[in-house]
């Protein structure tokens, strides 16, 4: 059976946090999924497909966020986005 709601905690480890380039790539990845996807950070919730929303969180290095998805592809979405943060973003440092 397909799980409709999926969420996972993840710690941001790259130097610049979820800013500019990493944020743009993150949002583009999120945009590929049909599910509604949210990032929850310090009691704020934003649309993970919104670049301005994601940047406005000001998520920095060492912060823990929750990624929550709701929809048919929720579990793939969470998996791919967490993976992006843990693997690709960790490599990507500005300048």
């Amino acid at each position: 059976m397909i799980r409709l709601v999926e969420e996972k905690k993840v710690i941001i480890t790259n130097k610049t946090g979820l800013h500019a380039r990493p944020a743009a790539q993150f949002v583009q990845k999120a945009g590929k999924f049909d599910s509604k996807i949210e990032i929850i950070f310090e009691e704020k919730e934003v649309n993970a497909k919104s670049i301005m929303g994601v940047m406005s969180l000001g998520v920095g290095r060492g912060n823990e966020i929750v990624i929550r998805a709701e929809g048919d592809d929720a579990s793939e979405a969470v998996k791919e986005l967490v993976d992006f943060i843990e693997v690709e973003m960790a490599k990507e440092d500005e300048e």
Partner: protein
């Protein structure tokens, strides 16, 4: 002549005429529309958005061609804003609910976002408020039918602006830009980042005085190294800077030739000139400046500005990246050196009377397996991807060294049992930064593959001078005869046991001291990337024999002032 000081954002010197980028103020008529006009305004909005996207796409391609894909990505982010599932509905809602015309609606939403960003704590994010403004103005201009103004440059100029958006910077013909000056901004603003990647000098954050003085076609000097800007300079300043500029250009050109050359003395003896790094972003500058490896990889950055220890996995990724980027070139990873002046709040160390003589560096690691082992595991696992070496900081006795080495053996055993790959013959070295270690360097040398002299701490502990205390800063000098002797003792003891010695403190890149260091037999010089080429040049002017002779003389000098003035007389 008027001198204005700002933030040095991109190095270099420029002398030329000013070009003031006018901020073409756009008046937006805020109109209230009637219910039946709503659909039409929304339609106008969407066609403007489409047009804006098209022009951004073009700008992105042009920038990619001029400055590379990476710099073009900012326009990718701008494109994303125009597709933002929160922003676009916000534009529409302003039209629908507040009955605003499209241009005013866009302006209001953009201003709200910009205000939110400008209130953020993080300097980098504060600057990002300018992104949405940049995008917003693009849409507004289309809505109002105002042509996007492209400033045509017909000669080389120094650009002066309140602030430069990425769109602005991309529109300039950068071959004609001698320097950028802005009223606002910081080292992380777009102007600064772009200027550095284009190699154009820039001074930012000059404040309103800049704009007051700004007129087209004024003679101006920009010093991107010090952040000084001279309007209508007097003759002598102009002469001084003309000379500096000529010297700077000549030096750049001369030093470039050392980029791909192996560091060699005049008689062809090879020495190693490598870089110090504080984080992964330092790797490229080291390579670009002809560094032959990394002599000191300070790992503290992995542990700072966060709330808990980094995981093994996090560290592994960073070490692996360093190993892969440097290829065959050696990367010496120094294990964690905290305590002293580097505090990690989450480790909750008690406050100390004498932190530099206290619980720090290897002393912490030997007691805390939960800190030391994950780091060693991460280094060892990453060692299969390149040429990594391990180095322990602050070793003061043989026991400490033995203990640290035993833990490495433990970790190797664990990894082997787990079936993990690693370089089982990884070189292990230690820092020489405590006089006691120098005195027993002969014993220590039998236990390690290399030494690296950390001059900053060695001076501090030898001369008993707190290196963070500005009042006694002049006492913290590598020219003290005691320090020079300790350096020689270390190298002699090491060579007797057949191991090599590097130096990773400031002194290794000290132009005047290099001949002495060469003369007493230093094998590896490790410094910040910017000093590498210069050091290679200095080394190329000396034969080992000449340097040895001078070293002998220097060792007979009785005071740091005598050493300093003598070193200046032998400079080539």
């Amino acid at each position: 002549m008027i001198l204005v000081k700002g933030i040095a954002a991109s190095p270099g010197i420029a002398i030329g005429k000013t070009f003031v980028k006018k901020d073409h103020k756009i008046e937006i008529d805020k109109k209230n529309i009637s219910e039946d006009q709503v659909d039409k305004e929304i339609e106008k909005l969407h066609s403007a958005l489409a047009e804006a996207k098209e022009s951004l796409q073009k700008l992105k391609e042009q920038t990619a061609e001029k400055m590379g894909e990476e710099k073009a990505e900012i326009f990718g982010a701008h494109l994303l804003i125009l597709d933002d599932p929160e922003v676009i509905p916000a534009f529409e809602d302003k039209i629908k609910d507040d009955k605003l015309n499209a241009a005013a609606a866009v302006k209001e939403v953009v201003d709200e976002y910009a205000a939110m960003f400008s209130a953020m704590e993080d300097e980098y994010l504060r600057e990002r408020g300018s992104d949405i403004k940049d995008v917003g103005m693009r849409v507004v201009k289309i809505l109002l039918g105002v042509e996007a103004i492209s400033d045509k440059l017909d000669k080389e100029v120094v650009i002066i602006a309140e602030d430069l958006t990425p769109s602005d910077t991309a529109q300039f013909d950068t071959d004609k830009v001698l320097a950028f000056l802005t009223k606002d901004g910081s080292r992380t603003s777009h102007t600064a980042i772009m200027a550095r990647s284009l190699g154009i000098p820039a001074v930012v954050g000059l404040g309103s005085k800049l704009i007051e003085k700004a007129e087209d076609n004024i003679e101006i000097i920009v010093d991107g190294n010090s952040g000084k800007v001279y309007f209508s300079p007097d003759e002598s300043t102009l002469e001084e800077y003309k000379e500096k500029l000529a010297e700077y250009k000549a030096e750049q050109k001369r030093l470039e030739t050392y980029q791909d050359k192996k560091a060699k003395t005049k008689d062809g003896t090879e020495v190693e000139v490598v870089g110090n790094m504080g984080n992964v972003n330092d790797i490229n500058p080291i390579l670009e400046n002809g560094g032959e490896g990394v002599g000191l990889f300070r790992t503290e950055f992995l542990y700072m500005d966060r709330n808990q220890l980094p995981t093994e996995e996090e560290q592994f990724k960073v070490y692996k990246e360093a190993a892969e980027k440097m290829g065959d070139k050696p990367v010496i990873i120094r294990t964690l050196d905290v305590g002293g002046d580097k505090d990690l709040p989450y480790l909750d160390f008690p406050e100390e009377m004498n932190p530099f003589l206290g619980y720090r560096a290897i002393r912490v690691c030997l007691e805390r397996d939960d800190i030391f082992k994950p780091q060693l595991r991460a280094i060892l696992r990453a060692s299969q991807y390149g040429n990594l070496k391990i180095m322990f900081p602050m070793i003061s006795s043989l026991e400490e060294l033995d203990e640290a080495k035993l833990i490495v053996e433990d970790v190797k055993k664990e990894l082997k049992e787990e079936g993990q790959q690693f370089n089982k013959d990884i070189d292990i070295g230690m820092m020489i930064e405590i006089p006691s270690a120098v005195m027993i360097a002969d014993y220590l040398a039998q236990e390690v593959d290399f030494f690296s002299i950390g001059t900053n701490d060695l001076i501090q502990y030898t001369v008993a001078v707190d290196r963070t205390n500005e009042k006694i800063a002049s006492m913290h000098t590598p020219y003290h005869p005691a320090v020079l002797r300790l350096i020689k003792m270390t190298i002699d003891a090491a060579h007797k046991e057949g191991i090599w010695v590097g130096m990773c403190g400031e002194a290794a890149g000290d132009e005047y001291l290099i001949p002495y260091l060469l003369g007493v037999g230093l094998d590896e010089f490790s410094m910040s990337a910017v000093s590498i080429l210069k050091t290679k040049e200095i080394l190329s002017k000396w034969t080992v024999e000449e340097a040895q002779k001078e070293a002998e003389k220097i060792l007979k000098l009785k005071s740091d002032t005598a050493v300093k003035s003598y070193l200046k007389t032998i400079e080539k």
